[in-house]
């Protein structure tokens, strides 16, 4: 209890650091989540099309114009090429359709007249092109077998008016999953930085050679004290994990009550264990409190950048991803990314997640072994 009480007192002196990293998580994680919301919402839109008609407005020509008007925003501009080019440049219009003279007559005669276009080349113009080519393809097919203009127009309209019912069977809320993934990816930094900072600061105090000497000569078994210290650190890590998990329940509560949520929890818990072992290892190596801040920046910030905690992994260069494989953060973030897109959860689909968890735990074991080696060497004062 003596060690635990002192641990708490030192922790209390460093509470500012815990609050700081938690605020980072709330603000930056929250900001990321906001960005994610903007990216995944869809808004219905129509392309802006200008029609330059040199034909008489009758028959197929009239019907084509009607079809375009129904499926796009028709823009009315001066029929001047300079004005049209300017409008395209400034994106006032996405697509310009030039219907040639005698288009209706030539089409009915089976001459397959050409329609000229001008396009901005963006996705809106692609959509406009799709509309136009759809009409012409359908019209061409029917024109070969139907001679009557009225009947042809009627058939074209009948075909184009047919709609397919599309039912999205997936109940996966990708928006909320993206939010959860953003939160837990950012938590990589907060968990790691906070644990390394606080545990190293506390260990630097307890493992100070002068205090260690005084502790070794006391009547309390040094191994017992070390065990108490390890327990205190572990307890702190679990409490920190619980705080961050509670925050995730507040921010993305919907997903946290699902099976996906359970995997986010397991993944983050395993990562917290690993981050604790890393912190204990570093805490046993360094004794200079002034160096801790730098170490936190190098390890927590560095691994967060390299492994895609702040920017999506797919944006990172291949070389960086390769390097990231040597860091436990990579496997933690990979799991979060897998969870974001995981439709069905069964043994086969969670296999890569389990494999990553095993890798993270292996990292933990390696750091525990290294910590033991360092600790035993340091215990020999003389």
């Amino acid at each position: 209890m003596t060690v635990f009480k002192t641990f708490l007192k030192i922790l209390n002196k460093n509470k500012f650091i815990i609050i700081l990293y938690t605020m980072f998580l709330i603000f930056f994680g929250g900001f990321n989540m906001q960005t994610s919301e903007n990216n995944t919402n869809f808004v219905a839109s129509k392309p802006d099309i200008m029609i330059v008609n040199y034909d008489e407005e009758k028959g197929i020509t009239k019907d084509l114009i009607k079809y375009i008007e129904e499926n796009s925003n028709v823009v009315d501009l001066k029929k001047n090429e300079d004005a049209i080019n300017d409008a395209l440049f400034y994106r006032d219009v996405n697509y310009v359709v030039y219907i040639p003279k005698n288009y209706n007559k030539d089409f009915m005669d089976g001459k397959n007249p050409e329609i000229e276009i001008k396009s901005t080349g963006d996705y809106q113009s692609s959509f406009a092109e799709m509309l136009l080519s759809r009409y012409i393809k359908v019209a061409n097919i029917y024109q070969k077998s139907i001679n009557s203009e009225e009947e042809l127009i009627s058939k074209i309209n009948e075909t184009l008016s047919k709609k397919s019912e599309v039912e999205i069977t997936s109940k996966l809320d990708t928006n909320i999953l993206s939010k959860a993934t953003f939160y837990y990816n950012f938590a990589n930094y907060s968990i790691m930085a906070c644990l390394i900072y606080v545990i190293c600061l506390i260990l630097a105090s307890f493992k100070d050679i002068k205090i260690q000497k005084r502790t070794i000569i006391s009547s309390t078994n040094y191994k017992t004290l070390n065990r108490q210290l390890l327990l205190s650190n572990s307890l702190f890590s679990i409490i920190l994990w619980m705080i961050y998990v509670t925050l995730s329940f507040i921010l993305v509560g919907d997903i946290m009550f699902s099976i996906h949520g359970i995997f986010y929890l397991i993944n983050s818990f395993v990562f917290t264990i690993c981050a604790t072992t890393i912190a204990l290892f570093i805490g046993n190596i360094i004794s200079n409190k002034n160096a801790i801040s730098g170490i936190v920046n190098v390890i927590a910030l560095g691994s967060s950048f390299l492994c895609g905690a702040f920017v999506p992994m797919e944006w990172l260069p291949e070389g960086v991803i390769k390097i990231a494989h040597i860091l436990p953060s990579y496997y933690y973030i990979s799991n979060n990314e897998i969870l974001k897109t995981l439709e069905i959860i069964n043994f086969n689909t969670i296999k890569p997640i389990l494999l990553n968890i095993i890798i993270i735990l292996s990292f933990s074991i390696i750091f525990i072994i290294l910590t033991n080696i360092v600790s035993k060497r340091k215990q020999k004062i003389g």
Binding site: T6, R214, I216, I217, S219, G382
Partner: protein, 312 residues
């Protein structure tokens, strides 16, 4: 008298260097034993060996009649140590620091509270209980260091140079505290290179150099080892060489030195050396400002034994 510590033929080697060279000594119950020696003489190494902080090459150490080992927790429970370097938590207050170190020995909360209050009173830190180490002066920090080492009321206390870099007021306070501990029944081993402190508080002294015991005894016993018995210092502005030669020829004179207007005459024995010297100066009409006589110090003894001064 009961021995609290018995050391026999203790040797500690670092590769080819003998830091402690065949030391044998005893510490009696209730005494303050001073380990006196210059820096690097082996004082701290000896203490570290006694506390099992260091493995020693050969010899035996018995504390409270039992062999001292790293896992001798029953012996350790009766020992308190105040190291040369201040060992406290920067993040804890004065009270919390003492509480932590006392808590390593005393599990009972009520008793511990009482012990902490006693320790604070002993070192005079009543007004600084809620202060953090950074807020304390060097002297107060040393007092806190002592309180952390002795709060659990140990029967045997090791004090390793506890007054290094301490102002005179704090030093007196610390020395008074050490005497109080002895009066309360504790046995104390006190290491220092300040001979004045040793003379003031130690019942017995061991003079160490290069890991070896040069002499053991009380302050008076050690001073008898010096071949001189009296030192007379006279402040004279000008003194001709023939007078110096005359004084050298006087009865019981061992050595005469005249530097920086100070005449230093050492005597091997004799009772009226001062009177005789004053008469000689008067007869020869030699004017002087100050004249005073001193007994040999432990530094003189050390000089006698090693040919160098304690603070070299």
């Amino acid at each position: 008298m009961k021995n609290v510590i018995e050391v026999k033929n203790l040797i500690k080697e670092y590769k080819e260097i003998k830091a402690v060279d065949n030391l044998s000594f005893e510490v009696h119950e209730g005494e303050i034993l001073g380990l006196l020696g210059p820096n690097g003489s082996g004082k701290t190494t000896t203490i570290n060996c006694l506390l099992s902080l260091l493995n020693y090459s050969s010899g035996s150490i018995k504390i409270f009649g039992k062999e001292m080992k790293p896992d001798s927790y029953d012996i350790k429970s009766k020992i308190g140590v105040v190291f040369q370097d201040v060992a406290v938590f920067e993040e804890l207050t004065v009270y919390d620091n003492i509480d932590y170190f006392c808590g390593l020995y005393i599990k009972d909360k009520k008793l511990r509270k009482q012990y902490i209050e006693d320790a604070i009173e002993l070192v005079g830190l009543e007004e600084f209980k809620k202060f953090y180490p950074k807020q304390l002066s060097g002297g107060l920090l040393r007092r806190l260091n002592i309180a952390c080492g002795i709060a659990h009321k140990p029967k045997l206390i090791f004090l390793d140079e506890p007054t290094v870099a301490v102002d005179p007021q704090s030093r007196n306070n610390i020395l008074d505290g050490i005497k109080k501990l002895r009066d309360n029944g504790a046995t104390i081993i006190y290491t220092t290179h300040y001979m004045e402190e040793v003379e003031i508080i130690c019942d017995r002294i061991i003079i160490l150099d290069k890991g070896k015991i040069l002499a053991t005894g009380t302050s008076d016993e050690l001073k008898e080892l010096a071949k001189i018995e009296e030192k007379i210092t006279v402040e004279i502005n000008e003194l001709q060489e023939n007078y110096i030669e005359d004084i050298k020829k006087s009865k019981n004179v061992d050595e005469v030195k005249y530097t920086n207007s100070l005449l230093l005459v050492t005597y091997t024995k004799g009772k009226n050396n001062l009177v005789e010297l004053m008469e000689y100066l008067k007869e020869n009409k030699i004017k002087y400002n100050k004249i005073y006589s001193e007994r040999p110090t432990l530094n003189d003894v050390f000089l006698e034994l090693t040919g160098k001064e304690l603070r070299d």
